[in-house]
Symmetry: D3
Subunit: 135 residues, 6 copies
């Protein structure tokens, strides 16, 4: 029987500023535009974590939902929510673009042993980032 997946939605509100140490000031302004404004801005991020596996015939569950919630809260939400991403150790030396954030989240959740299938991040209504590794 193929796997079933469960996608669970989480949210956090954070500030960030896009500014790369690998680029000059002029390049930063050109590449990031208003996202490079000096004092930063912020977003209501919506995070979708997809896990999957075979369905346990005794419980009807494909994943341990309380364990998933604990891992995402401890590994992501409590760190990121109501913080400035640029000041967090998780983004030390990194530019907190959507692409980088989904990779950072994947690594943190994979390290927690979750049966990850995909990590998706809605940065705004019209911008969504997704990361998944082949299994």
């Amino acid at each position: 029987m193929p796997d079933v997946t469960l996608t669970r939605v989480y949210r956090f509100a954070s500030a960030h500023r896009l500014h790369s140490p690998h680029l000059s000031a002029a390049e930063n302004a050109r590449v990031y535009g208003k996202c490079n404004n000096p004092n930063g801005h912020g977003h209501n991020y919506t995070l979708e974590v997809t896990v999957g596996g075979p369905v346990d015939p005794a419980t009807g569950f494909c994943a341990d939902l309380p364990a998933l919630d604990r891992a995402v809260h401890a590994g992501v939400v409590e760190h990121f929510d109501h913080h400035d991403l640029n000041t967090l150790p998780e983004f030390n030396g990194l530019v907190p673009t959507g692409e980088v954030i989904v990779q950072v989240i994947w690594k943190r959740l994979a390290a927690a042993g979750l049966p990850l299938r995909a990590v998706r991040l809605h940065e705004t209504r019209d911008n969504v980032f997704e990361y998944r590794e082949e299994r």
Copy 2:
């Protein structure tokens, strides 16, 4: 030319209670938490059925939409909507978790001959289940 897929959205409002005959009362309470409350609760379920195929050059369609609607209404919506899932024959001996519901729906729709690609079920705003078989 690769296939195009059409995802069509349906809805039903049902009651359910999570309680497994394979578990003790204490285990049921621990595993399902408030979803094990004695008199049940309910949800507005949103069902996304994805079908696909090559595009017919005469009609521009990749699937027979009226046939899809008939199959989903006859096989799922009319059975589940405004009913208690636990009392339905489709869930006899099963726990109506989201994982189990998407598998039951897949089987019923596959039996109707639909060119299924995926079945997704939104149980709440933040919980989504998906089932798909390799083809």
Copy 3:
């Protein structure tokens, strides 16, 4: 300076069945249709509570948000979520239609001393009920 209002959104998932003790079985079937099905069904209810008042110049707040959250959780969400509304004492002798639920919620929240402006309840995507009293 006129008041500012704050609308805060809460959610609960409940079962209910529409069946009036004031109506015959045939009238119940005619008036409520599938909502009168014997074993009940359920919804993901979305509750919007609007409170208002002058803006406190020291805090910039028009209402005590933690007190609002406490009152709505203690008075509504903990009672209704993952329960069958028909079995609750709050609906004893009442039919738990959207109209009745918003009135019951208003009374419970008004009794808690909240500066209520409106109570709105989304029963499904397409049905919204609202109650407000003149002040």
Copy 4:
């Protein structure tokens, strides 16, 4: 003939931190909780501006939509979007709560001569602020 209203939706992404000069550090921490975290956080704000008036029989319009767009962009969006609200002159001496932001926006738009009926601000999915003056 009564007025018709037009509600137009705008968006901006900003950082902010809730910290009042009228409160001690301990009071700020207690009143604002995580919203008082030192480096700020941010939101995708959704702004709804409602204007109204009689319908012009020649055009079928109740308001000058391009003028509305120009006023909201020049007076609000260009100032707030991708900025830290706490550093803007518009919030000098103010705490940028939702309540304060809707009042600041009302004043700026009213000064532009718009036939305002209401200003609503969605700070998160579950928090909405509204300001309207009697006419």
Copy 5:
């Protein structure tokens, strides 16, 4: 006891073109911009009809929902859905702006005897029109 209101959501997909017989070609182009393009365009319109009244103690209802559905379908949806509004007799001599459409819908529904409180029309995600008469 004050009234409770019920808002019910309906949908129709229509074509329209904004072009006023009271304006010159140049004025039409200036006033309506791309909405004046020669062959028209279209929208998925979302219609919210709010009715209200005292709650019937026997049924728990504030309005006759099947009668509401019949009136809106017969008076609006069946006329407008999958049609070009400019070719309909209801808009003869009128420009089918959102403002005009909500007034036309109000008149048709009021004539059907509904206890109307408001008619709201979402033309796009970011444009909403509302009409209500004092009672």
Copy 6:
């Protein structure tokens, strides 16, 4: 390191009529139903374009977002928005069904050199079409 994808959302409002030159009038009426009504109708189309690639370590980006926006606006939105799809050269000899529109959009964007992963089109709230080619 696997690719990250970025999905960007665009919108256009267009009229269309489903009528195939390969079918008789009776067949057109049967196959397309109300979508075959003579004067056409319209939709608010929501277009999701997914591109992907490795993340540039200097910028943190997986794609050139301004180039993506330019390509989609120049290749799709400016052509389709506020037009009747049936009158456009892009749909000459084609029936503008959702299936055909996503294929036309894919071809236009692929020709612009975008690293396309998927093209999805929401025609209504309940109908979504998707096209993707194996890479």
